[in-house]
């Protein structure tokens, strides 16, 4: 029995990546790179330092993220307990926290000796990226058949043995996926490093920004951007080649109603504290001006109090943010899930194409912004003044996450089900609606939550292309933190809290339908 080729399903995703990343980068490179720099740039000490630092902090951060993330994911995906939904939302919300606010909170929480150290960076990266592990591995583990574990226990396997021989192997491809994503996120990390790391420590992305913007060395910046892209694509290609997709024991998703044992409870409590502390610190500082507790920041933000010199329209910003996020998710979700079908079949030759969709993560937002400017600047494709550019870029950034989150789920859907439905006479639309979509629900909600969160928190590309009357929340927050005084600071903190709440609410409402 041969499967119909699913390759065409990857086309929209490939087009999106080509339009939003590859073509602009090629156009930019062709117009600014000067040949002599291609070699000479690597002898600059700042470039060498950035390369080495990017790599080893990313390895360390990935290791910590996986270590904390796997047990968290297991408990979240297997047990029902009080506050589970909130916990899930909390984990995702960290993804969009504005770095200025989180940086301040982390600095307040960490002991002085750890300020401006690699340790602080690694901890913060774990904080930001655990959600990748939870969201990618969770759906996979959620569909592991309880009976497998029961059998193993009956046969006398120790918990460690069960982990080694059942749980880890069944999650292997998802774990590797999430590790790869985490590694790339940390490798190209920008905000966290510049706030917590201090000036001595710079990643390649920071070096690219510095060259393009401060030094006006566009040639050098473009070379580094291309090199970073090639490096990440190569690593990813090798990574995904060595991987085989394992068959998964499939069963309908139910959560274990058993009470969580004490050990895991303490562990989860610790992780929750790790997530809640910076948010609480943020809320506290939004209600604190220099000398006292005060709600002025909130009143200015909500328009109850007019403050000369601070021109913000919070309601408009929330609408703009929500609009961009919904459009971005609306593009990334169908495109990404469709592509996942193409990539999930081992026999399909275009599995290599899946490497391509990781690209938007590998190019610095500044370079994408500059490249798009000179690529789409002629009629009728002069998109530069179009606001749609922003959600399109957001969707390209979200695409790799949607695909990575959906891949394990799509692989877990047994083909027999589709064939059975077809035999019973279900047409293609009916099968899509009654078989595929219900089974894809965890992937859809994960992908949706990821794309919304990516878009809501995105700063780099957005700040490049904003109109005054359509500022998003992160842009407003950065503006408020850019001026001196107690009121702008408190208002900025309050706006950060709003961003977190809006995101949490969206994620929570989407999540309710997963795993149930």
């Amino acid at each position: 029995m041969r499967l119909r080729s699913t390759s065409p399903l990857a086309i929209p995703a490939v087009i999106l990546v080509l339009i939003a990343a590859v073509i602009p980068l090629i156009v930019l490179s062709a117009s600014v790179i000067s040949g002599a720099d291609v070699i000479s740039i690597w002898s600059k000490s700042s470039v060498q330092r950035a390369l080495i630092f990017s790599t080893w902090q990313a390895l360390l951060s990935t290791a910590l993220t996986i270590c904390l993330g796997l047990p968290t994911t297991w408990f979240l995906s297997r047990y029902e307990f009080f506050g589970r939904q909130v916990f899930m939302a909390l984990v995702t919300v960290t993804f969009v926290l504005p770095t200025v606010a989180v940086g301040a909170a982390f600095l307040a929480l960490l002991p002085k000796g750890l300020h401006h150290s690699t340790m602080a960076i690694v901890v913060a990266h774990a904080f930001f990226n655990i959600s990748i592990v939870v969201r990618t591995v969770g759906p996979r583990w959620n569909s592991v058949d309880d009976r497998l574990i029961d059998c193993a226990q009956t046969l006398g396997a120790s918990p460690l043995h069960i982990w080694q021989s059942i749980i880890l192997p069944l999650g292997k491809s998802a774990i590797l996926s999430s590790a790869a994503l985490t590694f790339f996120m940390c490798f190209t990390s920008y905000g966290i490093i510049s706030i917590l790391g201090g000036p001595g420590l710079a990643t390649l992305d920071i070096e690219i920004y510095r060259r393009a913007v401060q030094l006006g060395d566009l040639s050098g910046a473009a070379i580094l951007a291309v090199a970073q892209m090639l490096l990440i694509v190569t690593i990813f290609f090798i990574w995904s080649r060595g991987r085989t997709s394992e068959l998964i024991s499939f069963r309908s998703r139910t959560l274990n109603p058993q009470k969580l044992p004490l050990g895991p409870k303490c562990f989860l409590f610790g992780v929750a504290a790790f997530f809640v502390a910076p948010v609480l610190a943020l809320i506290a500082s939004s209600m604190r001006t220099g000398r006292s507790w005060s709600l002025t920041g909130w009143r200015v933000l909500l328009g109850i109090q007019n403050q000369k010199g601070i021109e913000i329209d919070t309601w408009q910003a929330m609408q703009t943010s929500a609009k961009y996020a919904l459009i971005a998710a609306g593009i990334a979700l169908p495109t990404g899930i469709a592509a996942t079908y193409a990539f999930s079949h081992r026999q399909s030759a275009n599995r290599q194409l899946s490497t391509l969709t990781i690209l938007p993560l590998a190019i610095s937002p500044v370079v994408i912004g500059l490249a798009i400017l000179i690529t789409y600047d002629f009629d009728p494709f002069d998109f530069r003044s179009s606001w749609l550019l922003i959600p399109i870029i957001h969707s390209a950034i979200a695409l790799p996450f949607v695909i990575r989150a959906a891949l394990p789920v799509v692989q877990g859907i047994p083909n027999d089900l589709r064939l059975a439905a077809a035999t019973l006479g279900a047409g293609s639309w009916r099968r899509l609606l009654t078989v595929e979509i219900p089974l894809l629900r965890p992937a859809i909600s994960t992908g949706f939550a990821f794309s919304l969160a990516m878009s809501l928190g995105e700063f780099g590309a957005t700040s490049f292309l904003t109109r005054r009357e359509s500022r998003t929340l992160p842009i407003i927050i950065a503006g408020l933190f850019g001026r001196a005084g107690e009121i702008p600071r408190a208002t900025g903190m309050a706006a950060s809290v709003v961003l977190i709440l809006v995101t949490a609410m969206i994620v929570l409402s989407v999540d309710r339908k997963s795993y149930s």
Binding site: M1, R4, T6, P8, L9, P12, L16, S46, G103, A104, S194, G198, P199, G200, Y209, R210, V213, Q214, L215, G216, L218, G290, S292, T296, G309, E311, I331, P334, T335, A338, Y341, V366, G369, L370, L373, I374, F383, S385, W387, L388, L419, A422, S428, L432, V435, F464, T466, R467, R471, I475, G479, F481, G482, R483, A484, G485, E486, P488, R489, A490
Partner: protein, 331 residues
């Protein structure tokens, strides 16, 4: 047997793509009655700042924010001749020669405002210690471990402060920075971080911070609860540590509406718009006819001596200076 679930999904994705392409041609292009003003992201004049201009000429103004000044100039250089807007606001003297070399403007840009980057101090945190005045004061033992500066490679006030020391000490500026390092200067990446996490007024442990000469009036305006009239300032300025930043506006080369754009530049430099600048952007108006608000008269110190460098020099040496600085300070 074939699985045909593929087709509907495929159709749905293509529909999404078509919708996307069809609807992306929105956006308001410039016309004789609508101009686009490109500015850095902290350009936030009050609501209605362009009403007088619209009334007089019938032209509405749309503001496109373009990242920080460096990002804005990088974008403008790349799109020189085919710009995203008609007028650009806010290229400062550390970037102006790059802008001119890339021929982004038609004719010479107009000076629209200026300000000073200076060391600020937290009066309460200094306590009995006398406040510093000059650059040399900062290397004195009583200020050990007190100063936080921004990284010139990533921050524009950081770069301005470095340029000030280059102007003050000439070829000996590296020695000055070695002394600052010996005096335990803290370097952070951005102004927000220096001011809101390292500065004592916001919970940090550094009472001296590189900021602007107009930060003290901002502190008074944005105090919560508000200070009574005539209250003493909470922060002060070391008045002989200042580097002068000048900002320019000009008509972008390639704009189809040069005549109208020039009218807009004239309005930006005119008394109505200029008088709005102090309390919204916290800079001084270039136009001497524009009155200063009371907060500036009361709390912004008069800077009589400030440092500056020809923008040609800045453009030529910026990279070398920053790299040399990094080798001295970040090691």
């Amino acid at each position: 047997m074939k699985t045909q679930f593929v087709r509907p999904a495929l159709r749905a994705s293509f529909l999404a793509m078509i919708f996307l392409i069809a609807s992306s041609c929105s956006g308001t292009p410039s016309s004789t009655s609508n101009l686009t003003l490109i500015a850095y992201d902290s350009f936030l004049p009050p609501e209605g700042a362009f009403d007088a201009f619209t009334e007089e000429t019938g032209i509405t103004v749309q503001i496109a924010l373009s990242g920080d000044t460096g990002e804005m100039v990088a974008k403008a250089s790349l799109t020189s001749g085919n710009p995203e807007g008609d007028v650009m606001w806010g290229v400062d003297n550390t970037f102006i020669s790059r802008a001119i070399k890339s021929e982004i403007f038609v004719g010479d840009p107009t000076e629209v405002d200026f300000g000073y980057v200076c060391v600020n101090y937290d009066i309460a945190a200094l306590g009995e210690t006398e406040a510093p005045t000059t650059l040399n004061d900062l290397t004195a033992p009583q200020y050990k471990g007190m100063l936080v500066v921004e990284n010139p490679a990533t921050s524009s006030p950081g770069l301005a402060f470095l340029l000030g020391t280059v102007a003050a000490f000439g070829d000996n500026w590296p020695d000055y920075w070695r002394q600052l390092v010996a005096n335990d200067v803290l370097v952070v990446d951005s102004w927000s971080e220096a001011y809101y996490t390292a500065f004592t007024r916001y919970g940090g442990d550094r009472p001296l911070v590189v900021s602007y000469s107009t930060s003290p009036p901002a502190e008074m305006i944005f105090a919560d609860p508000p200070f009574p009239k005539g209250a003493p300032a909470v922060t002060g300025v070391a008045t002989e540590t200042c580097f002068k930043q000048i900002e320019y506006a000009g008509v972008l080369r390639g704009s189809e509406f040069t005549k109208q754009a020039q009218q807009l530049v004239d309005y930006l430099a005119g008394p109505i718009f200029q008088s709005l600048l102090p309390e919204s952007l916290f800079v001084y108006p270039a136009n001497e006819d524009a009155a200063l608000p009371q907060s500036f008269i009361d709390y912004a110190p008069t800077i009589t001596t400030s440092y500056s460098l020809p923008s040609e020099d800045i453009s030529q040496n910026r990279q070398a200076w920053i790299e040399q600085w990094s080798d001295i300070v970040l090691r």
